[in-house]
């Protein structure tokens, strides 16, 4: 056994580092490192830089603008970009819709939609969840009725991340009420400028506008926007979930966050000595670090089996559970490190380019908000409870 990357992979890592050195704007990495808000323009800027290099959608096939990287190379790429504090690629078009279109879309659909994801013409959002259909997604009610060469959609989606930035939404809709509830669902692409689509903001507990309700009243969608067969949308949805998710553990993001925590624990002083020398705090840090190192190897083991042609199911659920727990623990330690200074809320310090006087340690400004916001990690993308159900069923037959 050998944990080292091959020479070729190491050379690849160098190439990625050079690229980040040269192309990642400091203005963006500063914002990410300091936990400041990214604007739509910031995210688009980073997408464009990646796209120029052909690295926006590494997991797509080369013919559609992807790469021929191995899963290990993708892992290296994810880790290096996160460690460099690059903005996260917005997943909805690149990581969610793209693979579905590549697998289930018609030739015309692929030709039309895929390039528009890469060049930024379309910003997609994900219309799955509804007020009554969260974990039990298949019970969704938003309906689409075929009328001539259109579907007419009525209903409501909720928790739609960044719908306020999007011009397109992919939706799971009910096209039949017969048979099993999974069998009457279709996958539709909707232009958000269509009359009858309304986006209403939802404020989250940290005060930010990140998610929305999306309402549909008599929204007409051309039938060519159906992906896959009518009433077979659940297959697309499931594919999305089981789609080999090399980055689901967020190891890179955790490594970056942990480095930041270490930096902070070295400078911050509590009762006369550095926080990193506080035995209780140091033990908490060590616990997370050990878990993270273990997770990195678990992740690489899963990637190795994917590289050998296996499809992970329970494994990606395991990566999701432990990966999000680690992320949440790191943000909890950041708030703990801030002591009383976790509590002041300086809205302006969360904006890029803030050069006012911080209150207490400058790094403390976003830590409480991030801690609260990161509760979402164990709720969305299939809650951690639902992931445990998947493991129980698929791996243990229970």
């Amino acid at each position: 056994m050998d944990l080292d990357f091959t020479e070729k992979d190491e050379a690849f890592r160098e190439e990625v580092r050079e690229f980040l050195n040269e192309k990642l704007p400091k203005r963006l990495s500063d914002k990410v490192r300091q936990g400041q808000r990214l604007t739509k323009a910031d995210m688009e800027e980073w997408h464009a830089i990646l796209n120029e290099r052909g690295w926006l959608a590494p997991h797509w096939p080369v013919e559609w603008g992807g790469t021929d990287w191995s899963v290990v190379q993708r892992f290296i790429f994810e880790t290096e970009t996160a460690m460099a504090h690059a903005p996260r690629v917005v997943p909805f078009g690149v990581s969610m819709l793209g693979p579905v279109l590549i697998k289930f879309g018609t030739e015309e659909q692929k030709k039309h939609w895929l390039p528009r994801i890469l060049d930024g013409s379309d910003w997609w959002c994900q219309g799955y969840s509804e007020p009554g259909a969260g974990s039990d997604l298949a019970s969704l009610k938003t309906s689409a009725v075929r009328e001539g060469d259109h579907y007419v959609i009525n209903g409501q989606k909720t928790w739609t991340t960044l719908a306020q930035c999007a011009n397109k939404i992919f939706c799971l809709v009910r096209t039949s009420k017969e048979g099993k509830k999974q069998e009457g669902i279709s996958f539709l692409l909707v232009d958000m400028d269509t009359p009858g689509v309304e986006v209403r903001p939802i404020k989250l507990l940290d005060g930010d506008h990140e998610v929305n309700e999306v309402w549909f009243s008599d929204v007409k969608v051309p039938v060519e926007n159906l992906v896959g067969e009518e009433n077979k949308g659940w297959t697309c949805a499931k594919y999305l979930l089981s789609y080999e998710r090399t980055n689901i553990a967020g190891v890179g993001a955790s490594m970056a966050a942990f480095e930041r925590l270490k930096e902070v624990a070295r400078t911050t002083r509590r009762n006369g000595s550095a926080l990193i020398e506080d035995s209780l705090f140091a033990a908490r840090m060590a616990e997370v670090e050990i878990d993270l190192e273990n997770m990195r190897t678990t992740n690489l083991r899963v990637l190795d089996s994917v590289g050998r042609g296996q499809t992970p199911m329970a494994e990606s659920s395991m990566l999701k559970i432990r990966g999000t727990e680690i992320r949440q623990k790191i943000t909890a330690l950041m708030r703990r490190a801030a002591g009383r200074y976790a509590q002041p809320f300086l809205d302006e310090a969360l904006e890029g380019g803030f050069n006012g006087e911080p209150v207490g340690p400058g790094w403390a400004a976003p830590v409480a908000s991030q801690y609260f916001n990161n509760r979402k990690l164990s709720i969305f993308g299939g809650s951690n409870e639902v992931q445990r159900e998947i493991i129980g069923k698929s791996m243990m037959g229970l």
Binding site: D136, R284, G360, A368, I379, S383
Partner: protein, 362 residues
Amino acid sequence: MDFSLGDDRRMMADSLSRYFADTLGWEARQAAAESEAGFSRDMWAGLAELGVLGLLFGEEAGGYGGSAFDAGAVFAEVGKALATGPFLGTLLGGNILEAAGEADLLGEVIAGSKILTFADDPAMDSNGVVTDPVKAVKEGEAWRLSGAKGVVDYLGSADLIVVTAEADAGWASFLVEADAEGVERRAYPLVDGGAAGELTLEGASARLLVSGEDAISKARALGLVATVWEAVAVMEVLRDATIEYLGTRKQFGVPIGAFQALKHRMTSVALEIEQARSAAINAAAYFAKDPATRDRYGSAAKYTAGKVGALTAEEAIQMHGGIGMSWEMPLSHFAKRLVMLDHVLGDEDAHMARYLKLASAA
């Protein structure tokens, strides 16, 4: 043994509860918590009129309570209503005024005509290092204070500030008028609602209240009791709301509370909250004992409240799913307050460390 609050205290707690229910409905609470002052002046005046603030102090100081259980009973209601306001500053600063025999001044605080706060935590610089600790210097008969204090509750609204400072002869507490020369205040809102501020003193004129650290330690200890009682009340609100949600929210055709994965975790949360309530009772019951015993139980309680608080807040949000994260739901604000209470007067780790020290000395 008697685990009841006692009739008088129960009556006051009930009337406080009714007062909050009548005047501090959810919308009013939110408006107050988000206002510049961070609390409602009208509510404060109403509390003073009710006589609630007097329950925090002894008879000689013009109050009619002053025990740790009195403070606990008041702060439990504050927690239940998620009220914002200078409660803690009034309790701690007032406790020092009481020790100093400043009955007249305290009378004004109890009557609501003066807002009091307590500046004790040191300020930190941009690297997280304690900066510019407050020093007291005697000039003739007068004292002058210089230095900085961090995250002082409701500093922007305060008329009077009790400041802890080091003089040549050791720690002491002083009274500073908020509008005196050499007093600089930078006010800001808090992430869980309410407000605080950074205090900078440059030769501000001050009055010596009590010399020595004992009175300061006692005030902090009383603050621990109050904070823990508040935290437990917040936990109970979160617990009840979550149990109700588990019984009503349906997924897969059944109430989600029917899933053992959630049911058993919720029972663990409920069990831990009972432990936290007992810790709060211990802290109040041993408050009047010798300082070492008092502080051991104070730390035990604050440690427990910190640990159980984070568990309760995190589980309440998790079991609510997406809706648990929305600003609209009171639940998320209770969760934020609960987690932030761990940051007040020393967190779980700080109190575990202090407990270890005290326990090994005992």
